[in-house]
């Protein structure tokens, strides 16, 4: 990013003032730790970049209320550590690096998305520095709140388009007493039958992940809760394995997480969202050397690898769109990027109409992180 000036506000008001001044001069970039920077197109010609590194720390935390309010530059890991001391957690386990603000702006999530939803389900309020120099607060500290427009949701996945998130409040939950991960290994058909069976039985697994391991597929089912719950869920995995012919074993806690992470050295990373029933057919269509991780109860498939060429990717993108889904090429070499862009989406018109409405309200000069979302590529 060719940036003329790097700014690091240490208060909300200072962030608003700096953003106001920068956006009066031209485009202003808003960044967190930069850990997800490459997932989005660069901001267009910024005259300054504001980072949130000095907006750090916990603002309010009353464990009995099951909510926590933190400054947006706080690393997610620090938030989890503070919650852990009270045996609580934020049920979001995305890409492990990065700040809370970056997590919201990128709408990232991980295996726990299966049971606990995404950022939009945990986030109950934000405070934002606006390009007009004001600090606005949307949502609040309470778990139910319908006062005014829910613009908090507009910041989820906003990639900084509507100002700088300076503070966020989340719903949190008690840490599970126990956790056991069961691995079921077999053919894709067998594994798919197993995940469908477990889903039909309304079993509350915290995470259900599928990965290809050489010529087999492995389903990781994470059971969390009190002992009685974990034991029952493990039993159900055993039953599903028996009826589908999968091999079953207890997996070490980090094994599934290792697979879910982008392998070191992978130059291409595609994240696909499809209606969950399409997951098996998408996995079946992948070439044997394509490393993939799927959340089949949700409809997320992440594909990594060096072997992913233009034709493979083009076909996957087309399949995603035909299934009424979308795809985000989080990482790619320049040549691929030039050919395929950043996103493929089934329909873009509704967002193209709504995005300017939010933009007109929150950044009418269109100087804030210009060019970083799917909806302002042509502006």
């Amino acid at each position: 990013m060719d940036v003329m000036e790097r700014l690091r506000p240490s208060s909300y008001d200072e962030a608003a003032r700096m953003l106001h001044e920068a956006s009066a001069r031209g485009n202003a970039a808003v960044v967190g730790s930069g850990s997800r920077d490459a997932w989005f197109p660069p901001a267009r010609n910024p005259v300054a970049a504001l980072d949130s590194a000095a907006l750090c720390g916990i603002v309010r935390y009353t464990p009995a209320d099951l909510t926590i309010c933190v400054r947006a530059g706080t690393p997610l890991a620090d938030v989890q550590a503070a919650l852990g001391r009270e045996r609580q957690r934020l049920p979001l386990d995305p890409w492990p690096q990065g700040t809370v603000g970056g997590l919201i702006a990128s709408n990232d999530n991980g295996p726990l998305r299966t049971r606990w939803g995404g950022v939009r389900d945990a986030l109950i309020g934000v405070r934002v520095a606006l390009p007009n120099g004001e600090v606005a607060r949307f949502g609040g500290d309470v778990v139910k709140n319908v006062a005014g427009y829910d613009l908090t949701k507009g910041y989820v996945g906003s990639a900084g388009a509507f100002g700088m998130i300076v503070e966020a409040t989340f719903k949190v939950q008690p840490q599970p007493a126990r956790s056991t991960c069961t691995a079921l290994t077999g053919t894709l058909d067998a594994v798919a039958t197993a995940w469908r069976t477990l889903r039909e039985r309304a079993l509350p697994f915290a995470a259900v992940e599928v990965v290809r391991t050489e010529d087999r597929w492995t389903l990781y089912a994470l059971a969390e809760g009190d002992s009685v719950v974990v034991e029952r869920l493990v039993r159900e995995c055993g039953e599903a394995a028996r009826t589908t012919g999968c091999a079953t074993r207890e997996a070490p806690p980090d094994e599934a997480a290792e697979h879910a992470r982008k392998p070191a050295g992978a130059r291409t990373w595609l994240r696909v969202g499809i209606p969950p029933a399409q997951t098996a057919s998408m996995l079946a269509s992948l070439a044997p050397d394509q490393h993939a991780v799927a959340r089949p109860w949700v409809g997320i498939v992440e594909i990594f690898g060096e072997a992913l060429g233009e034709s493979d990717l083009t076909r996957i993108l087309r399949d995603a769109v035909e299934a009424r889904g979308h795809a985000h090429l989080r990482q790619a070499d320049d040549d691929l990027r030039r050919l395929l862009g950043w996103w493929s989406i089934e329909q873009i018109e509704g967002g193209r109409t709504m995005f300017p409405m939010l933009k007109n309200a929150l950044d009418p000069a269109r100087h804030c992180n210009a060019g970083r979302t799917i909806y302002d590529q042509s502006e």
């Binding site: 004001e134 709140n145 996945g157």
Partner: protein
């Protein structure tokens, strides 16, 4: 309006057909109210059957500068569907089809006029349910739920409407039809569906909704615990949460509410109790069987004089029957009620409940409390005579005092009923000017002429001195209460 009303109404008729338009005074009177205390008469009611017709009505109103108020079933409690400034009411009552059920993807596509309970009834034989269950679920519509971002007793673990809507088809203020959201998870870009949920019909009319459904839970256990006081019951709520158990519902009813409910519903509630908690656990059988005795023990340790556990579906339904009909039961103890909907952090319940009681006492009115204790969502019902303008004024004053207490405790003026017209001028209590300015700018960007549901959600007359503004609205509400009394006398 650039032409005579009769001609405008004829143009409306050409869009929705003869049987899709009400314009006779006796018909219009049925659409002047919702579940709140205000009234206003529309000039016409359009009942479209298709999204095309909705778009036609919205476009016509937009072109002619005629106000348009969308309406589901009219069960709202904040005046959201009252045609405050006249104009056209657009009722979705004839768009109530279930268009598709997709059990594999666990979704249902519905029209906005579908009644909430009918959605659950439709999918129940397949083993599914729709989670948000407002107390008015037997009448309120999914479109109305989206507009208000409705909750209900089971949202503590299940979330509110926004957590169960994946995709929306909308008609925007100028009549343009758009689709936002996706049947696939996490579509790129901002969460537009989340922004539209709870926008109270001020930025769009919803014409189709893709809802998430979930499989029915394996085991449900409902229990009722009686306490001497609301304070003791509140402490039990915090103790249950602190133990790591999160019930799907934790509902509280105080003594005045219990008396009214029992007289009305004969649910078998202990009328001598100072407060009652209705708790529900929904989970795997083993989990419920493990947690239920612990909840009973926690309630007893916090002073419960009696804990009753429903032994079968019949007993469970009986326990819920009283709660779900609680608002209707208030007729037993007062001619009318003014219900507030403030939310507070759960740990502040005891002190704020005391302030609720003080606020009512100060104006010489009684208050009954029936509310979602688990998520701190209060529903104080201030009892008054709606034909007595002075009592109406006092009820409104007590309501304001209660909302102040909620905001001062770090909460919100509304948890699920919406701002509507009733709470629009209390928005200044909760939000800084910068937020209100952003809300207004968003409203302007979506609907520059403010023809969609005008004068709702946002404070009236932004730019006036705040105190003066509230006074002004109080006076307007007073005037409406007086008009309401006159209307009641006339019919």
């Amino acid at each position: 309006m650039s032409e005579q009303p009769s001609s405008f109404i004829e143009r409306l008729r050409t869009i929705v057909g003869d049987d899709g338009l009400f314009s006779e005074p006796q018909q219009l009177r049925l659409y002047m109210y919702d579940g709140s205390i205000d009234r206003a008469l529309p000039i016409a009611v359009a009942l479209p059957r298709t999204a095309e017709q909705v778009a036609g009505v919205v476009r016509l109103c937009h072109e002619e500068g005629v106000f348009l108020t969308p309406r589901g079933a009219g069960t709202g409690l904040s005046g959201g569907s009252i045609p405050l400034c006249g104009g056209v009411v657009l009722s979705t009552a004839r768009m109530k089809a279930v268009l598709a059920v997709d059990t594999e993807n666990q979704t249902v596509t519905v029209q906005p006029g579908l009644v909430n309970l009918d959605l659950t009834k439709h999918v129940a034989p397949l083993g599914f349910q729709y989670v948000p269950d407002p107390s008015s679920q037997g009448a309120c519509t999914i479109g109305g739920n989206v507009a208000e971002n409705s909750g209900g007793p089971h949202t503590l673990t299940g979330g509110v409407t926004t957590n169960h809507v994946l995709e929306l088809e909308l008609v925007l203020a100028d009549g343009e039809r758009v689709r936002i959201g996706s049947p696939a998870p996490d579509p790129p870009g901002p969460d537009f569906v989340g922004v539209v949920c709870g926008s109270e019909g001020t930025i769009a009319v919803v014409t189709q909704i893709l809802c998430r459904i979930v499989r029915k839970t394996e085991c449900v256990r409902t229990m009722l615990a009686a306490f001497d006081s609301c304070r003791a019951a509140s402490e039990a709520v915090s103790a249950v949460i602190a133990s790591g158990i999160v019930p799907t519902a934790m509902e509280m009813m105080d003594h005045p509410a219990l008396s009214a409910i029992e007289a009305f519903s004969h649910a078998g509630y202990p009328v001598d109790a100072g407060a009652v908690l209705l708790l529900e656990l929904e989970a795997l059988r083993e989990e419920v069987e493990d947690a239920a005795p612990r909840v009973v023990e926690i309630c007893r340790a916090n002073g419960a004089s009696e804990v009753r556990v429903a032994q079968n579906d019949e007993e469970r339904e009986a326990l819920w029957k009283g709660r779900k009909k609680a608002f209707g039961a208030m007729g037993r103890i007062g001619p009318s009620y003014y219900v507030q909907d403030g939310v507070i952090p759960r740990t502040r319940l005891p002190e704020v409940l005391e302030r609720v009681e003080q606020a009512a006492r100060k104006v010489g009115l009684r208050v009954a409390n029936v509310f979602h204790a688990g998520d701190g969502n209060l529903h104080p019902l201030i009892l008054f005579d709606d034909h007595d303008p002075d009592q109406a004024k006092r009820a409104i004053a007590a309501g304001e005092e209660i909302l102040r207490a909620c905001v001062e405790a770090g909460g919100s003026i509304t948890g699920e009923h919406g701002v509507g017209m009733e709470k629009r001028d209390y928005m200044v209590l909760q939000f800084p000017k910068a937020t209100l300015a952003a809300f207004t700018a968003f409203r302007d960007a979506c609907d520059p002429g403010h023809t969609l549901n005008p004068y709702k959600l946002l404070p009236s007359g932004l730019g006036c001195a705040e105190g003066g503004k509230r006074q002004k609205t109080m006076a307007q509400m007073q005037e409406l209460a007086e008009r309401n009394a006159a209307v009641g006398d006339a019919y």
